[in-house]
């Protein structure tokens, strides 16, 4: 009886596939068609071995900031366009994702799965692709796969922290960053992430240590300088803060994340005029989540001036 039931089902399948007259291809058409397959296709595809010494971005992109050897997250779009042309297929894939060409990016990963199936970097980047697309759960699964392949690989651990942070679990995120910085003692990104959290919650001493290291690594790193300067500012060392903020340019001052605290530091050292100039250079139309803080600082500076 089971066979009798099965047969019609099969006929339906074969009829339906036959009648459409689809041109079969590796990922479309009749599943019974595979003319393009060659015996050599069955040969074991040599896998690209993971080498932690080579696991960093190279070239111009690596010089952009203190994190750019390990993260493309803060690379501006025009620079990403260059990275897109990298010979490294994984870099190509992740760059597409950062540029929000998710399908292209994911396809690259798909096409190269056999080469990279045991490569923790591959799965980490694939996870990031999903993260960037907002598919946190998928990202989490691929990050975990990456971790499964190499337990002491910092990127997926850091990225799990990012997802925790995204979900409001900052304490958990902090633990993840900590763990990531432990397993990847040379990795800067988890440090940076920790530093940001410390700053947010006024753990200035811890933040200062981290941003100092980052600034030491790259003295022009805007975010690192900003973090270190803010740490000093919170501690009440406005002069040190002003000194650090001063290494930046006016382009940076117009950004609320830098300009607000710089103006506050300037005010604290008595340069009220400069403080107001900097504060007014900030484009208030693009304050976003900085708006309440901007308002508070503005009030403080205005009150002080009175």
């Amino acid at each position: 009886m089971k066979i009798l039931l099965l047969l019609p089902l099969l006929i339906v399948v074969s009829c339906s596939t036959g009648s459409k007259k689809e041109v079969a291809g590796p990922s479309s058409g009749s599943i019974e068609e595979f003319s393009w397959v060659e015996n050599t296709d069955f040969n074991e595809v040599p896998e690209v071995a993971f080498n932690s010494r080579d696991d960093s971005f190279q070239g111009d992109v690596a010089e952009i900031d203190s994190l750019s050897t390990e993260s493309l997250a803060r690379i501006p779009e025009p620079k990403l366009e260059k990275v897109d042309q990298s010979a490294d297929i994984l870099v190509q894939g992740i760059t597409h994702c950062y540029r929000r060409n998710f399908e292209e990016g994911k396809k690259i990963f798909q096409d190269n799965l056999r080469k990279y199936k045991s490569h923790p970097g591959y799965w980490n980047m694939l996870g990031t692709c999903y993260y960037l697309q907002g598919k946190m759960r998928s990202a989490l699964l691929y990050y975990n796969k990456s971790r499964g392949l190499k337990k002491d690989y910092a990127p997926p651990v850091n990225n799990l922290g990012v997802i925790y942070q995204y979900n409001g679990l900052e304490q958990k995120a902090l633990s993840a960053y900590k763990r990531a910085s432990e397993v990847g003692s040379f990795s800067m990104t988890p440090m940076f992430n920790m530093g940001q959290l410390y700053l947010k919650y006024h753990l200035t001493s811890d933040a200062k240590n981290i941003f100092s290291r980052l600034v030491k690594k790259n003295a022009t790193d805007v975010d690192a300088l900003n973090g270190l300067a803010t740490s000093y500012l919170m501690e009440g060392n406005a002069e040190a803060a002003v000194s650090l903020f001063s290494r930046l340019t006016s382009v940076h001052y117009s950004k609320p994340q830098i300009g607000i605290n710089f103006s506050l530091a300037l005010a604290d050292v008595g340069r009220r005029k400069d403080a107001q100039t900097i504060l007014s250079s900030i484009n208030t139309a693009q304050l976003g989540e900085y708006a309440p803080y901007y308002s508070k600082v503005l009030t403080k500076l205005s009150g002080a001036s009175k």
Binding site: F42, L67, L141, Q257
Partner: protein
């Protein structure tokens, strides 16, 4: 004396007449003689009366005449008696019928007795005794006759006529009694007196010659016989040449001088063969086998006609039968059979031939069947061949019953363990029985043939030649018996050994029809057929049986059906395996697809093919086809088979996920789970988890729900299912499906073990409600949170986020207390102030205790917030007391009051400083990320902020070392 002479003349005439009565059948002549005797008897009687019985000679003459008359009358009576019909003869009273002659014999006897009584010294007494001796002889009273002849010899003169005749008569009695030594001297004495030598001398000589021969005096016997033969040519003597020719030949042959006998017959110009034949008859009657055979063989040499040949051979046949010379008997029988076939045997001869053939064949067959020769194989086989020779002659003799004789021949061979010959003979009898459609003998012959074929030493040639026919015939006659069961199997084996598989298959079908319930044998036969097809690579052969089995035409046990299907599968996949082993995986793939699409392939084949195709495409990294074929394979597979290959399916489904084919992987995970549902497998939980987790990752909440719901019947551990229910709860919260989330919590709340995990989700819902102003709903959730928290004994099992939620609810209580505490305002007069102050301190103690209790929960955020509240409350009281000035009091009073109040607030300040110190230490040590940090660390004034805009920074690579 005159009478004496006359008497003797008449007497001897009468004696002559009586002695040779057989030669004269003339009753009228007898009557004439009786009349003559009556005349003389009348005259003699008259004279006797005249002499008043005083003359013994007359009485003697009367006795002689009465005796002669008695003989003649008896001959007449005999003549009449013979002419009577047989039935009448049987009914006749012989005494009465022969009474007339008997009276004369008695009268003669009485007369002689009278003479001897009345005239004891009578000189003619020897004649009286002579008459009495003859009379006694007539009544077969040989002893009396012998006595009277002896008395006659004694009482007579040695050279007298009566003495001579009596001696001859007595000699004849002795001769007839076989007392040759007594007869010889009597004959010799009698013959010495040549005066009384009569024409019977030749006959008496013959007797004497025989007496000599019997006494071992052959030469004398032959000599006398030759003399008697010569005299027989003389008319004076009775012609005994006929007997002498025979007897003389006998003497010669018996003494080993057959040549002499032949010479003798030649010399007298007689038919040698016929005479030798007579001799042989005589020899045989004497038990002289060897001379008789010799004689007959000589006779054959001198036969002059076919009749003689036949006659001699008939004799030989009898001879050989009597003396057990069966081989020679058979040769003679063959010869005679030819004559029979040429219709040259007369009725008697035919009877003899038939009798001999049947008798001897019967005897020999009995010997073969008996125990006597069982251990003498050669003899036994020789006898069997002999018997068969007879049966074949009988078959020729009686063609209508030839089938019987052929069968008997076969049986004889079989009894002698000559199975090869037996088989041939059975085949012959079978053919003959079939020709006349004799079912009994068809059956018997066939059974015999099979028995012989199953016997010892049967040659391969014969087995090959006859066994099939035997089996087929046997089955034709009986196809349902126990025996038939065996025969079917043997026939099958025969065909199989010959490689004649079509016949094997026919046999199997016939067997099935005859023994439909004997599955084990049917299956054993079928197994051999399958094995053959398998060896020959004949897939179609196997398929045809699989189709029969599938269609129910051929019923087998499920186990066997499985085996057969497996055999087909093995064959179907053999080429694929070859291709695979050679590394030609494309070819293997093509063959698998071919098997799958082949309409004759059964579900098992399709299952295997589709499974293998799926794995090959998986190997290729073609997730599209790997998925499609896996689905097909699963559709064909039983749960047990899915269980068998669950590891592979897991790899394939994982591969699909790795290929970012989330929904496809979910489908495979769930399909496999569905198949494994009722099986024992630890992988069920893995398939379930993967299906749910990947479905949620792919934003297929409903699909995840559906899979999880269906898994409840699969006997998967509750803890594992609960874990997935929690995942769905998380998903619902992420999606802000608050009602669904609460329902999910309600569902999960049935398990106490899960309480710890419910708090954080509940907290998130609560926060959402609070944010939306749904305070009442939030309060309900708070109660649930606290209830679950209180019911979990192991507080360490809570996650940090859960503790934060609990702490925040508890903090609300503390804050409410703080509010109440702050609402108490100090006021004068003194008594009231003291009361209020006391109340404030009590409230402070209460909220402090509550805050400490909240700190004990272990939430970092809770601890920092608690410290913040305590610092705030304590600072509030310090400030309130410090700033309070009693109204309407003197300066001195106020100074004293303030002084005492300063003493009162000092410990409070110390406590506040401690709280701050502890809080800072906790924040720094535990890196507590609390929004209350700034208040603790920097006080309540303006504090610079770091607004974290872009969350964490993603890390793509490990970075430079």
């Amino acid at each position: 004396m005159l009478f004496k002479k006359l008497f003797k003349t008449i007497l001897f005439c009468a004696l002559l007449t009586s002695s040779f009565s057989s030669f004269s059948n003339d009753n009228s002549r007898r009557n004439e003689l009786v009349k003559v005797i009556d005349l003389e008897l009348k005259e003699v009687t008259r004279l006797n009366k005249q002499t008043r019985t005083s003359n013994p000679d007359l009485l003697l003459r009367m006795a002689e005449l009465l005796l002669e008359k008695a003989r003649l009358v008896k001959e007449l009576e005999n003549s009449r008696y013979v002419k009577l019909p047989a039935e009448q003869r049987q009914k006749i009273d012989r005494n009465k019928f022969f009474s007339s002659s008997n009276n004369y014999f008695i009268q003669a006897q009485k007369t002689c007795q009278l003479i001897l009584k009345k005239f004891p010294k009578f000189s003619g007494k020897s004649d009286v005794y002579y008459i009495m001796a003859y009379n006694a002889k007539e009544f077969q009273q040989d002893k009396k006759a012998q006595t009277y002849f002896s008395r006659s010899v004694k009482s007579s003169k040695k050279t007298s006529f009566t003495s001579t005749r009596s001696k001859i008569a007595l000699a004849e009695i002795y001769f007839n009694q076989g007392q040759y030594k007594k007869a010889i001297p009597l004959y010799e004495n009698a013959f010495r007196n040549k005066r009384f030598r009569d024409k019977w001398y030749t006959k008496d000589s013959v007797n004497l010659a025989w007496s000599y021969y019997r006494s071992g005096r052959e030469k004398r016997a032959i000599s006398l016989m030759r003399e008697a033969y010569k005299l027989s040519k003389n008319s004076k003597y009775i012609d005994m040449s006929f007997s002498i020719e025979r007897d003389l030949a006998y003497f010669y042959t018996d003494s080993g001088r057959v040549d002499q006998a032949v010479k003798f017959y030649k010399s007298i110009g007689k038919n040698i063969a016929s005479n030798l034949l007579k001799v042989s008859t005589y020899l045989m009657s004497r038990g002289k086998y060897s001379p008789a055979e010799k004689t007959l063989k000589q006779a054959l040499s001198y036969k002059v006609s076919e009749e003689e040949d036949i006659e001699i051979n008939i004799k030989l046949l009898n001879l050989y039968e009597r003396f057990g010379k069966y081989h020679k008997h058979l040769s003679v029988a063959k010869l005679l059979l030819r004559y029979y076939e040429q219709k040259k045997l007369n009725g008697e001869q035919i009877k003899v031939l038939e009798y001999q053939l049947k008798r001897i064949s019967g005897i020999i067959q009995k010997q073969v069947n008996g125990k006597q020769y069982k251990k003498q194989k050669k003899t036994l086989q020789s006898k069997a061949k002999l018997a068969v020779g007879y049966f074949s002659l009988l078959a020729q003799y009686d063609p209508l019953n030839a089938y019987k004789y052929s069968f008997l021949a076969a049986e004889t061979y079989f009894a002698a363990d000559m199975n090869n010959s037996a088989v041939e003979a059975y085949s012959e009898s079978l053919k003959r029985a079939q020709d006349i459609n004799n079912s009994k003998y068809i059956k018997l012959s066939n059974e015999g043939m099979m028995a012989a074929l199953g016997g010892k030493n049967i040659s391969k040639k014969n087995k090959d030649k006859y066994i099939e026919v035997a089996y087929l015939n046997s089955l034709r006659a009986d196809s349902k018996s126990k025996q038939a069961n065996k025969i079917y199997q043997r026939l099958f084996g025969l065909y199989f050994d010959r490689g004649d598989i079509p016949s094997c298959e026919k046999t199997l079908i016939s067997y099935k029809n005859s023994f439909p319930r004997n599955f084990s044998t049917q299956e054993a036969m079928l197994a051999r057929i399958m094995e053959h097809h398998k060896k020959k690579g004949n897939l179609n052969g196997i398929k045809s049986w699989v189709l029969k089995i599938n269609a129910g035409e051929f019923k087998v046990t499920p186990k066997f059906a499985k085996k057969v299907k497996l055999a087909m599968l093995t064959m179907q996949f053999e080429n694929v395996e070859k291709a695979s082993s050679k590394g030609d995986k494309k070819q293997a793939l093509a063959l698998y697809v071919h098997i799958y699409k082949d309409p004759t392939s059964d579900a098992g084949a399709k299952q295997n093919a589709s499974y293998n195709i799926a794995t090959l495409f998986h190997e290729l990294g073609d997730s599209y086809r790997s998925y499609g074929w896996t689905k097909r394979a699963l559709s064909h597979m039983s749960s047990r088979n899915v269980k068998k290959f669950q590891g592979s399916f897991l790899v394939i489904a994982n591969g699909l996920f790795d290929h970012q084919k989330s929904s496809e992987s979910v489908e495979i995970y769930s399909l496999v789970l569905d198949k494994l549902c009722k099986q024992r497998s630890s992988n069920k939980a893995v398939f379930l988890k993967n299906a749910v987790v990947v479905a949620l990752a792919d934003d297929q909440g409903d699909r995840a729900r559906e899979v999880l719901d269906s898994a409840y019947r699969c006997n998967i551990s509750t803890s594992k299912i609960d874990e997935l229910e929690l995942d769905i709860l998380e998903y619902e919260i992420e999606k802000k499906n608050w009602s669904s989330a609460l329902k999910q919590i309600e569902k999960l709340s049935s398990s106490k073990k899960i309480y710890a995990k419910l708090i954080h989700p509940l907290g998130r819902i609560r926060n959402a409600y609070l944010a939306a102003g749904r305070v009442s709903n939030a309060r309900n959730i708070e109660r649930d949170i606290l209830r679950y928290y209180s019911k979990v004994r192991n507080k360490k099992s809570f996650e940090l986020e859960a503790l934060d939620e609990v702490a925040m609810i508890k903090i609300d209580n503390v804050e409410r207390r703080v509010k109440q505490f702050k609402n108490i305002e100090l006021a004068f007069p003194d008594k009231k102030f003291n009361g209020l102050l006391q109340k404030k301190f009590l409230a402070l103690d209460g909220l402090t205790a509550e805050a400490v209790k909240t700190m004990d929960i272990g939430s970092g955020k809770g601890i920092v917030k608690s410290y913040k509240i305590l610092i705030d409350a304590y600072s509030h009281l310090i400030n309130e007391i410090d700033n309070f000035t009693p109204p309407g009091k003197s300066k001195e009073y106020i100074d004293t009051f303030k002084k005492s109040m300063r003493n009162l607030i000092r410990p409070l300040k110390a406590k506040t400083a401690d709280f701050k110190k502890e809080a800072v230490a906790q924040i720094k040590k535990s890196k507590i990320l609390s929004s209350d940090n700034s208040a603790i660390l920097f006080g309540q004034g303006f504090v610079p902020e770091y607004v974290l805009r872009n969350n964490g920074v993603i890390m793509d690579r490990g970075g430079q070392r």
